[in-house]
């Protein structure tokens, strides 16, 4: 049983296109995240939702828009894709986020390549 699943795993698309990455968790967690891993493997948080409420919104271009229809889902929509958006995007979740010792569990990643 996959705990945090995201689709698609691989995505190749042209500059200027709009694409979405979907994420679902079946762990019953309240908090979900999107992290970006760049070509140097550096991980940076982009967004976090707690019970469908946006709680973290890092300095990310407004072409990136997260949407959480319910607490088990957090999707990432990207408009007008640019070459620099090529990266691996990880979805993650954790139990009620106010307890800072809670473990964050990651999905397998979505490899986005913009050509």
């Amino acid at each position: 049983d996959t705990a945090v699943s995201q689709t698609p795993k691989y995505l190749v698309t042209q500059m200027g296109n709009d694409k979405s990455i979907k994420c679902e968790q079946n762990l019953g967690h309240d908090t979900m995240y999107w992290y970006k891993q760049d070509s140097k493997k550096f991980l940076k948080i982009m967004f976090s939702y707690n019970n469908k409420e946006l709680i973290i919104n890092e300095t990310v271009p407004n072409r990136f828009s997260p949407k959480s229809p319910d607490k088990a889902h957090l999707n990432l929509h990207i408009n007008s894709l640019e070459l620099g958006d090529s990266a691996v995007y990880f979805c993650a979740s954790s139990p009620k986020g106010t307890a800072s010792g809670n473990t964050i569990y990651f999905g397998e990643g979505s490899w986005l390549t913009v050509v």
């Binding site: 550096f42 940076k44 976090s48 993650a92 800072s100 010792g101 397998e108 990643g109």
Partner: protein, 113 residues
């Protein structure tokens, strides 16, 4: 502000030898510290964490880590490394009351047979 430093980009050890991956942190309050491992083309897998209590934390796959408050360190250790431990290791920190988990730059571990 919270941050993590992993001073070594790469660690190379022979199979059967001890493995240590270094991590130092900076937080304004008490830290919550984590180690994750990433295998090629895979997601991050949780290894262990320190919240409070015993400074020596035991985790998955025979790994352990020692929290040292005076040195602000949380080094990952394994007494006897396996070739299958070859992967990218991330240290991460979260400050008290913060949702955000901040990661170090990662250390690539290569265990040679």
């Amino acid at each position: 502000a919270q941050s993590v430093a992993q001073p070594e980009d790469q660690v190379n050890v022979a199979e059967g030898n001890p493995l240590t991956v270094k991590c130092t942190y900076s937080v304004s309050g008490n830290p919550y510290l984590f180690w994750y491992v990433q295998y090629p083309n895979r997601g991050l897998q949780f290894l262990l964490k320190y919240i409070t209590g015993d400074n020596l934390v035991k985790g998955s796959y025979g790994f352990e880590a020692e929290f040292n408050k005076s040195q602000t360190s949380f080094h990952l250790k394994k007494p006897s490394a396996l070739v299958s431990d070859s992967a990218l290791y991330f240290c991460a920190v979260r400050d008290v009351g913060d949702y955000k988990l901040s990661f170090g730059a990662g250390t690539t571990v290569t265990v040679r047979a």
